[in-house]
Amino acid sequence: MRVPPTLSTVLGNLFKKPATNPFPKSDPVPVPEGFRGKLVYDVEKCVGCRLCITVCPAGVIEYVPEVRKVTFWLGRCTFCAQCVDVCPVNALSMSDEFLLATADKYDDNLRWFHGEEIEEFKRKLEEKKKARESFKKEARKAVESEG
């Protein structure tokens, strides 16, 4: 029988440690610097300029006109980070998080600024507006009573 040419390599490898990472038991392979993981959105910084919507190639972002913010659904995100590069106020950034598997494509983990958060934001805006108006009224009254 012919000796296979790979025999010496195979025999040598039999006595080496396995070069694998048994993932759930160990930590995943560390991510490099500048890794493009899950997108992180900072609602407070956002000014609603809609630049991210124009550059997004995957339709992840929708504009919420009532509050002048954007809403994200990362189920479609391709992690190209173009929105991060174009954002003028640095409201977007890429995190190191990459374990994003879910059973539901509309999972909360894959959404930024949606549902209740938008409603809450709307309420806050309303309150602010009312407060500003009442402040103005009081100021006007004060001016009238003085004059």
Binding site: G59, W73, H114
Partner: protein, 175 residues
């Protein structure tokens, strides 16, 4: 034969053809010949190019809907054996009422796949094409719909599907 020589030889043989030499700058300076020939003399022009350089490399056909006409540009690489090659873009066009062009598969057999593609996507008919079957579109694709046309024979709006963003889906009362 370099770019200028080719332009001269071609211009003498086809005086009614429009010959232009473009030059792109850095980072990759390259001169290209752009030729526009009427469709009645197009096959003759391609045969002449094959005669000039029997080893001519036929690259691709790029066709587009140019409003009143359908344009097809044929990209070829000539004289590539003598060092710097001549990059030739030879074009022709057909009016939309009678969108037929002569086939060049008898001169460049590799043009067949591109002609079939142009035929199904833009509705240009190639006269004498040996294999007029569809290449990319599915078998149940409707007749008379050409995806790359910009006019009424293009894709209908109801054929475009979008899975939708959950934010806008919610607005419509779903989910």
């Amino acid at each position: 034969m370099n770019v200028d020589e080719f332009a001269k030889v071609f211009g003498e043989r086809f005086p009614d053809a429009e010959v232009r030499i473009s030059e792109n700058k850095q980072p990759h300076p390259r001169r290209r010949v752009w030729v526009t020939v009427g469709r009645d003399r197009f096959h003759e022009a391609m045969a002449f190019i094959k005669e000039l350089d029997p080893t001519a490399q036929f690259s691709i056909i790029i066709a587009r809907d140019a409003g009143e006409t359908l344009e097809a540009k044929y990209h070829l690489e000539l004289f590539w054996e003598d060092g710097e090659s001549v990059s030739l873009i030879i074009g022709t066009s057909a009016p939309k009422e009678n969108p037929t062009l002569p086939t060049v598969t008898d001169v460049f057999p590799s043009a067949l796949a591109y002609e079939r593609e142009v035929q199904e996507f833009l509705g240009i008919r190639y006269e004498g094409i040996p294999d007029p079957r569809r290449l990319f579109l599915p078998d149940d694709w409707p007749e008379g719909v050409y995806p790359l046309r910009l006019d009424d024979t293009g894709i209908k709006p109801e054929m475009v599907k979008n899975a939708g963003h959950p934010y806008s889906l919610k607005k419509e009362g779903e989910r």
